[in-house]
């Protein structure tokens, strides 16, 4: 190769390399890859595609893609997490977070596949928006699954399914229609961006299960970890099957009922002692619980 030509090629390579380095250097880190099953890749603005690895930074405006076997979990500085399912493509197109004030905004654009969002600080203040081809949904204070149904779940929803797990979902579409889902476990299947939203329904367990399986590891995958966590680790760190409170059990409810009975029997008794007649007003009411 002539010297001049070699110089041009070298210059181009160095330029491309510098450009990549520069664009990655100025790209703001918004979180990191905390689990990844191949193949999953990231494309930062102005950079080439890279395979996602455990602990790698996720930068603003990065496109995340997964293959038919791939899945990932991204964790963000505001404590939120995003599980990306198989055959998915999304962009973190907005992330502003001030850890001191605990405020910020976050946006995700899902064009393909499934995501499961579990909220952090931002979703508890201004809300997180997830854009899909059929609607934009604001997730406030909680957890949601959004996605194009896979082969099984497609029988249930041929479009994009939005499921509220914790908190509130507020949806809008091009027709100007809005819908708020505050009930956990409820969701809607949306097939068009230009028609009113259908009424939310309780999503069947098997559909949720299908989506969860899609956004996790299958039996042979380990999310990029080599030394796997064990139940013994969980026990060692104090996770020993905690108990829950019994339902509807305020013991003072019983005291309140008994006090009401006291009012009646005591009032009647005191009146008889005072006047010798049956029935009279209650005494000053015993303290209710």
């Amino acid at each position: 190769m002539p010297w001049e030509k070699r110089t041009k090629v070298l210059t181009a390579l160095v330029g491309a390399l510098l450009s990549t380095v520069a664009s990655r250097a100025i790209a703001a880190t918004v979180g990191s890859v905390t689990a990844v099953n191949p193949a999953a890749s990231g494309i930062a603005p102005g950079a080439g595609s890279r395979s996602l690895t455990l602990g790698a930074d996720v930068v603003f405006n990065e496109t995340i893609k997964t293959s038919g076997e791939g899945s990932a979990q991204l964790s963000f500085l505001d404590r939120s997490t995003l599980n990306v399912g198989r055959n998915s493509s999304l962009v973190i197109d907005k992330f502003v977070y001030d850890p001191d004030s605990g405020t910020g905004s976050m946006g995700v654009n899902l064009t393909k596949g499934v995501l499961r969002f579990v909220g952090g600080q931002i979703s508890h203040t201004s809300g997180v928006s997830i854009t899909t081809p059929v609607a934009v949904v604001a997730v406030r204070g909680g957890s949601a699954t959004v996605g194009f149904a896979g082969s099984d779940a497609q029988k249930f929803c041929p479009g994009v399914l939005f499921i509220n797990h914790i908190g509130t979902l507020t949806m809008k579409n091009k027709s100007g229609d809005t819908l708020t889902i505050a009930k956990q476990g409820y969701g809607v299947c949306v097939t068009s961006d230009n028609e009113p939203f259908p009424e939310p329904i309780l999503i069947p367990d098997w559909v949720i299960q299908a989506f969860l399986d899609d956004a996790g590891s299958n039996g042979n995958q380990h999310g990029g970890a080599t030394d796997l966590p064990t139940d013994q680790d969980a026990t060692r760190f104090g996770f020993n099957s905690p108990r829950l409170d019994p339902p509807g059990s305020n013991p003072l409810d019983i005291i309140t009922i008994i006090n009401t009975g006291n009012s009646a029997s005591g009032g009647n008794s005191q009146n008889m002692e005072t006047s010798g007649s049956d029935f009279g007003p209650p005494p000053s009411g015993p303290v209710s619980g």
Binding site: P251, E273, T274
Partner: protein, 448 residues
């Protein structure tokens, strides 16, 4: 007024003592000592996501801060690494349950049950919790609490402590008529609490609530003090601002009750009210209400209308969770009774305070936590004018306080034992109404 001030000071002292006890519980102080740690652990966990000690510590700190979502995200990450983690699936189920996401809780409980290495104690807990989660996830939900037991009272008839009453003729104190029922007694009692919620199936999660309470006693020695009570309320609970203030609800309701004494009708009440439930963050919920009821003591006999009144109640209660182990409850109410007989009209103020301590039972196979609840309360009642039939020269004024401790000890998913020890003291400026009473109840419980 002096009594009011004095009882207020006493209430303050009791509140301070109970609050100090609550503060002394380890679970209550967790939020304070770990709030800053979460940020440090997050940064570390993001950089080294497979540093499991850091991840578990982050989960523990997040749970103690009631930041269940942060804990959920981190635990689901561990399932990415090892989908067979039985304890992590169980932990996720309980976190979703406590977050009100019952469908996810059901899913993780079922996954945990399917784990081949599940231990017997965890299995028994899931056997208790899974039906509860499935019920909560259902559009129609019914709960039933039943208790039967025995009760002892040192002064079942609320007889004046002095043993004297005012003679309605002379106005002078005279010894009690001992032919009237009085003194200590035991009774057998049964009570039931029924609750039913029906979802409207709409997006905000509105529902229709029905509550029914029943209570009956059978005195061993003083049958004239037997009581029967049936009360109920129903109304829709509606989300007020699901987007800007999730959890804020309003409930207009209809309420009514009937009481029998010694097998004969004593009073019927009916009316309506409106209540709000306003959560402030994950720890504090305030519930104010205003209610009107007509209380009818006439029992069909026009001569016996002494207490018949319109009653207007304005009240508010608050529940503050201090960690998972301690909940502070407080309440205040104002009630104005405008009676048909002017000498029965009165104004009443009540304040209550309690601390619920929840703790693990001593046996691993018992699925649910036990609860110990010390409580105190005060009631001040001031009548408008003297009652000429009792003492035409004195307007009755009572100050009543009550203190005690209640316990609730579930033994299986449905069966348990509950009870309470209570002391009540009422001081009145008319000797007829000054009394005290010790009360102890205990009995088996059933929950469905």
């Amino acid at each position: 007024m002096t009594c009011f001030v004095r009882s207020g000071a006493l209430l303050g002292a009791c509140v301070a003592v109970l609050a100090l006890c609550a503060y002394a519980m380890p679970g209550a102080r967790a939020a304070e000592v770990t709030a800053a740690d979460q940020k440090v652990l997050l940064v570390k966990a993001l950089k080294h996501p497979d540093d499991y000690q850091t991840v578990f510590e982050y989960v523990r700190v997040s749970e103690e801060l009631h930041d269940y979502e942060a804990a959920i995200g981190a635990l689901e990450r561990l399932l990415f690494y090892n989908p067979k983690l039985t304890r992590v699936k169980y932990e996720l189920a309980t976190l979703y349950y406590r977050s009100g996401s019952y469908q996810m809780a059901v899913d993780y409980f079922k996954k945990t049950l399917a784990s081949p290495d599940l231990d017997a104690d965890t299995r028994s807990r899931i056997d208790a919790y899974l039906p509860l989660a499935e019920k909560e996830n259902s559009p129609v939900r019914t709960w039933l609490f039943l208790q039967a037991g025995i009760r002892y009272q040192s002064n079942a008839s609320f007889t004046p402590s002095s043993g004297m009453v005012l003679d309605s003729g002379s106005g002078f104190p005279v010894p009690l008529d001992l032919s009237q029922p009085h003194g200590a007694d035991w009774n057998a009692f049964a009570l039931g609490l029924f609750a039913n919620d029906i979802d409207f199936g709409n997006a905000p999660g509105d529902r229709f609530e029905t509550r029914v309470t029943g209570y009956a006693t059978n005195q061993f020695a003083l049958p004239s003090l037997n009581v029967g009570l049936l009360s109920g309320s129903f109304g829709p609970r509606l989300a007020l601002a699901p987007i800007t203030w999730p959890g804020l609800t309003i409930k207009p309701y209809v309420v009514g009750s009937a009481i029998w004494v010694a097998g004969a009708p004593y009073t019927t009440e009916g009316g309506g009210g409106v209540t709000l439930s306003a959560p402030f963050g994950k720890m504090l919920t305030i519930t104010p209400y205003i209610e009107w009821q007509r209380a009818d003591y006439s029992n069909g006999d026009p001569a016996n209308q002494l207490g018949t009144a319109d009653m207007l109640t304005a009240a508010a209660s608050a529940a503050l969770k201090l960690g998972d182990a301690v909940t502070l409850n407080g309440g205040f109410s104002y009630q104005r009774s405008t009676a048909d007989m002017p000498d029965q009209s009165n104004t009443q103020y009540s304040e209550q305070f309690s601390v619920a301590f929840r703790f693990d039972p001593p046996f691993a196979h018992i699925a649910q936590k036990w609860t110990l609840t010390p409580f105190v309360g005060f009631t001040q009642t001031a009548f408008d004018i003297p009652n000429p039939a009792v003492d035409p020269g004195v307007t009755r004024s009572d100050t009543s306080w009550q203190a005690g401790v209640a316990f609730d000890t579930p033994l299986t998913a449905h069966f348990g034992v509950a009870g309470a020890l209570t002391y009540q003291n009422t001081a009145s400026n008319i000797i007829n109404y000054s009394f005290d009473d010790w009360s102890a109840i205990i009995g088996p419980t059933l929950r469905f």
